[in-house]
């Protein structure tokens, strides 16, 4: 009673807060691993197949962060390890938001493209994180280290499965050692957000076909056709049947003025996918651009006959070919 009376209203509130916080903490401890870190609990049971027990990418460079700027520092770390010559200071105008005192996830992905890299957001799985590290790819992760708004980017560069330890380049520490469980606890709060930024001639170990294609298409838009061309070629070596990647490759050839190459890619794609309106339209356009409108006309007519969501674009192409033929 005496203690309670001594507490002012605000003091009481603070006390209640502290008590509920302590309660939550104890509860978490009681529930143990399973609820604190569900993926760590699964990981503990078995090492994901074909993974080494211990990996550390010691050659990944380290850029200690200046205040609030873990975004540029983490991105510079990932880019520099892919061979891009860049410093965190140069990345500040590309990712940092002064009024938010931080960097957005999407801008981290976008900025990597400006340096000719393909950026890829990993699936929210702990073993994917380990797989990428084992494949030699440092992984940028978003953690929440505060009680509410302590968002922080770090770069995972190694792990030791037996000890359950993750090694990170983080803030001012070059080699932060974090138990899997702690990492999961702070990482889980960002929805297990993680990304890699790889040169266009590589594919992440955990890449999903369609999501990787979107990542390459995003590079095509932002990083220019040259890097994207390489990325599409690499993609098609792994997934040769993907018609959308063939369209992308042809588009980059076309943008670079390599019309013959674009034509041959599209002809091959048209043989494999005779019903693809997009392939036919782009093939007709490529032929027309080479002054071969008579050849282009039957192709575009076949595309027009198939209809579909791109019929407006097809009609445009057809009209322009017919116009050129009349001249």
């Amino acid at each position: 009673m005496v203690v309670l009376a001594a507490l002012s209203a605000s003091g009481r509130k603070a006390w209640q807060n502290a008590r509920s916080l302590a309660g939550v903490f104890v509860l978490l401890l009681l529930c143990g691993c399973a609820s604190l870190g569900p993926q760590t609990a699964t990981l503990r049971e078995t090492l994901p197949s074909a993974l080494r027990e211990r990996v550390e990418l010691t050659e990944v460079p380290f850029f200690p962060q200046s205040e609030y700027q873990c975004g540029p520092a983490a991105l510079a770390t990932a880019l520099a390890s892919s061979g891009v010559k860049v410093t965190p200071e140069e990345l500040v105008p590309e990712v940092y938001l002064p009024e938010r005192k931080g960097s957005l996830q999407i801008e981290m992905l976008a900025a990597a493209r400006r340096h000719g890299m393909v950026s890829y957001q990993l699936a929210p799985r702990f073993d994917d994180l380990l797989r990428e590290i084992a494949a030699g790819n440092p992984v940028i992760v978003l953690q929440n280290l505060g009680f509410r708004d302590g968002w922080h980017y770090a770069v995972a560069v190694g792990y030791d499965y037996d000890w359950g330890k993750l090694y990170l380049r983080s803030g001012e520490s070059k080699r932060q050692v974090m138990p899997f469980l702690i990492h999961e606890f702070v990482w889980m709060r960002s929805g297990y957000w993680a990304m890699v930024a790889l040169p266009p001639d590589r594919i992440p170990a955990t890449a999903d076909e369609s999501r990787w294609l979107s990542a390459v298409a995003a590079l095509e838009r932002a990083g220019g056709p040259r890097a994207a061309r390489t990325a599409y070629q690499t993609f098609l070596k792994r997934w040769p049947a993907n018609v959308n990647a063939a369209v992308g490759l042809a588009n980059t050839h076309h943008a670079l003025g390599e019309l013959k190459e674009a034509e041959s890619v599209l002809r091959h794609a048209a043989r494999e996918n005779p019903e693809s309106v997009i392939v036919l339209n782009n093939l007709a356009q490529t032929l027309s651009d080479q002054g071969r409108d008579a050849e282009a006309l039957p192709v575009i007519e076949r595309a027009a006959a198939l209809g579909g969501p791109f019929s407006a674009a097809v009609e445009d192409t057809k009209r322009s070919i017919q116009k050129k033929l009349k001249r």
Binding site: R100, K101, L145, G146, D149, R221, A222, N251
Partner: protein, 118 residues
Amino acid sequence: MNVWAKTICRLLIALMVWMPYQIATAGMIGTDQVVTSSPQVDRTTVLNFLNRSDVAGQLQTLGIDPSTAKDRVAAMSDQEVQSLAGQISAMPAGGISSGAAVLLIVLIAAAVWWFWQR
């Protein structure tokens, strides 16, 4: 009057942001459209156009100058722009130094290290 001025401003920003992508080769169907495979091409084009100007505008209010904001939006995919439009203030912005959170880490570390070791 004010509303009109605003609309025109938005449109101009949108045009400024949008322009570079329209230079893309005429007649070819772009990979972006193929990959997102959105059937309503015209509608999504208009939406993207507005979203891009919206996001560029938001970046400006958060302390980025107009031309830098434009370059930053240009590096985003349509999907990314769409998820950012109108949402920037609600999204996490990674920025704190890990030093600031050492206490939390140490506390939890001490408690759960034990679980892993067991």
